[in-house]
């Protein structure tokens, strides 16, 4: 069983798109986009490139659903890591720290 044999033309097409997207992301960096939006644009292009590599070069487009679950699970775990971490980091300043304790009369020990 040799698996699905992908036509050579497909590989070259994907290669050309990947090089094109690399040129695009480099060009976009030379244009002024207000931060942090420049990072989001760069990440969007990177996600497109990674998806093409995964689907075609790594044959996920031609594989069974079982393997696809493993692939998705890997990235889903990464999403959990990033989301839960950021849910802490990004929300710390939402509620100002309490100052109530400062106003109460403190009885000094002894």
């Amino acid at each position: 069983m040799s698996g699905h044999i992908v036509p050579q033309k497909t590989y070259f097409t994907i290669f050309a798109i990947l090089i094109g997207l690399t040129v695009l992301t480099t060009w976009v960096a030379s244009v002024h986009i207000e931060p942090p939006w420049n990072t989001w644009v760069a990440l969007a292009i990177a996600v497109c490139k990674a998806t093409l590599v995964i689907l075609f070069f790594m044959h996920v487009k031609y594989t069974s659903n079982l393997t696809r679950i493993a692939v998705v699970a890997g990235f889903f775990w990464l999403a959990i890591l990033l989301t839960l971490t950021l849910s802490d980091i990004l929300t710390r300043t939402w509620i100002p720290p309490s100052t109530a304790w400062q106003t109460t009369t403190v009885v000094s020990p002894r």
Partner: protein
């Protein structure tokens, strides 16, 4: 059939624990993806750390990014994408049982991988050393570089932290490249001995998956390290 081959001394493409070649292929491919999931978590931890400090020290990371030469990053991205193409073609050659083509594409991939490491170590990291932007051991920006950072009004320790992320992430990426080149060297020797066939090429495919994964890591590292400060 397999019983006959096993006793006749010819290498049986089917290991005895599998029902058939399709199951064997599926298991190998699936297992490699499970390993890659752990690799996603390995690099994911560093990406998460990067994200936190990118948020905390926003402009320092942009200023740090401008200290790197994006042209090296872009050149290396192109080299890696080329190597991914030759790797994909190597797997295809193995699937079709073309031994000569398989060896040629494996060697091409090795050469491109070495070109990547060559650009990174000899040009890029040497330049970083001379610019005094290597964190921990040689971090003391001077002249133009220092002025650039002062104009951006960023704290030097925050820029140094960016450089830590840069060296840790590209360093671990380079380590993966070295491991990949080692794997491909073994594959080339095995291919030369005629150990692969359209029935059994799983090592080639598995190593290919690993190589493409390392490429994907770089696809994210390139913009996040070299381009966030803009190239204008």
């Amino acid at each position: 059939m397999s019983e006959h081959q096993a006793t006749s001394g010819v290498l049986d493409p089917l290991a005895h624990q599998f029902d058939d070649l399709e199951q064997q292929h599926e298991a190998s491919y699936f297992g490699m993806w499970i390993f890659l999931a752990t690799e996603i978590m390995f690099f994911g931890g560093m990406f998460a750390g990067y994200t936190i400090y990118r948020h905390e020290y926003f402009s320092a990371f942009e200023a740090g990014s401008r200290l790197l030469d994006w042209r090296f990053g872009a050149a290396n991205t192109a080299v890696l994408i080329c190597s991914s193409l030759t790797m994909a073609l190597a797997v295809r050659a193995a699937q079709m049982g073309q031994r000569k083509a398989l060896i040629t594409f494996l060697l091409l991939t090795i050469v491109l991988g070495m070109a990547f490491l060559g650009i990174k170590f000899t040009f890029e990291w040497t330049r970083d050393w001379h610019e005094h932007i290597v964190p921990g051991i040689n971090f003391a920006p001077q002249g133009e570089t220092l002025k650039q950072l002062q104009d951006a009004k960023v704290a030097l320790p925050h820029v140094e932290l960016f450089m830590f992320f840069y060296f840790a992430m590209t360093g671990f990426h380079a380590l993966h490249m070295i491991v990949g080149i080692g794997l491909l060297t073994v594959l080339t020797i095995m291919a030369n001995q005629g150990r692969f066939s359209p029935q059994r090429f799983n090592p080639v495919e598995g190593s290919g998956l690993y190589w493409h994964f390392v490429d994907i890591v770089w696809i994210f590292l390139f913009p996040l390290l070299y381009l966030i400060g803009g190239t204008h």
